[in-house]
């Protein structure tokens, strides 16, 4: 019994599910459900179909390179049964799975292209940093010191006295 990956969407195919297609050159394609099978018959390229893993990996939406993927390589050599080895492997699978999914969700959340709220926050953070570093491109530092309308207000203060003190770091 082997858990295969669907050729089209890359989800796992459990025994009893899906269809296997054997091409004339003896290449076997596994499909998890008829949706993937029909898309294959339509000759669609999974790398262009938005809901597949192939698309998201290609477009950087999903984590592609990580050391945790090394554990899931296909090995065709059957291992002699060893109780300790089997037990340790089962424990390790759980742990590696958790690490991998944590890293993958970090990858998704902390990306500035993410459509999640965290992505928006990340974009604003990056934009703010860029503005602070490159404010001299917008207006000359000397002019900035005199007319401070382009500065980012760092802290919202009630006291007018403190506001003039804030602009001084920008002169650097």
């Amino acid at each position: 019994m082997r858990l295969e990956k669907c050729w089209f969407c890359s989800s796992t195919v459990y025994p009893g599910h899906g269809i296997q297609f054997v091409r004339n050159d003896a290449k076997i394609f596994h499909f998890c459900r008829s949706k993937c099978h029909k898309n294959f018959k339509m000759k669609r390229n999974p790398r262009k179909v938005k809901w597949t893993k192939a698309y998201s990996r290609l477009h950087g939406k999903d984590m592609t390179q990580d050391s945790t993927f090394e554990f899931e390589r296909k090995r065709n050599r059957p291992e002699r049964y060893d109780r300790n080895l089997a037990e340790n492997t089962l424990k390790a699978i759980k742990k590696i799975d958790k690490i991998r999914s944590d890293r993958a969700s970090d990858h998704i959340k902390n990306k500035s292209f993410s459509r999640l709220k965290t992505g928006k926050v990340q974009r604003q953070k990056e934009a703010r940093k860029q503005l602070e570093l490159g404010i001299h491109l917008v207006k000359a530092p000397l002019a900035l010191a005199q007319d401070s309308s382009l500065c980012l207000p760092k802290i919202k203060v009630n006291v007018s006295q403190a506001q003039t003190e804030e602009n001084q770091p920008m002169e650097e």
Partner: protein, 122 residues
């Protein structure tokens, strides 16, 4: 789902290239043949200078079909074409080489020689 008038490819080097099914062996009014069934076929196209000639009537066993094969373990396998292996009355293949992948079901049906010659068994 092979029935009379179906054209099939030949997956061995017996000399035939294309067969047309004439009869499905099994019961008197048997409609379709699947993987592992024996059929009577006539050779429609043959390789020149081989013992088998065009319009010769021979028996063959079906080794792959475009219709899905449902295995006992829940797997469903579909091949890309309908192919046969030419056999004699005992079930031994007439050719010496088999091309393409063969389904494991043939072993249960006592076509062990075919399974052993096959380059890949699924």
């Amino acid at each position: 789902m092979i029935q009379p008038q179906t054209y099939l490819n030949v997956a061995d080097n017996s000399g035939a290239r294309e067969l047309m099914c004439i009869r499905v062996i099994g019961a008197s009014n048997r409609r379709y043949a699947h993987i592992g069934d024996v059929i009577v076929a006539v050779i429609k196209e043959a390789v020149p200078n081989t013992p088998l000639e065009r319009s010769e009537v021979i028996t063959a066993v079906i080794v792959s079909t475009r219709k899905e094969l449902k295995c006992d373990n829940g797997m469903i396998i579909r091949y890309d074409d309908n192919a046969t292996v030419v056999i004699d009355q005992e079930g031994n293949p007439k050719g010496t080489r088999i091309f393409g992948a063969i389904a494991r079901e043939l072993r249960q049906l006592n076509f062990t020689k075919i399974v052993s010659l096959a380059p890949e068994v699924l």
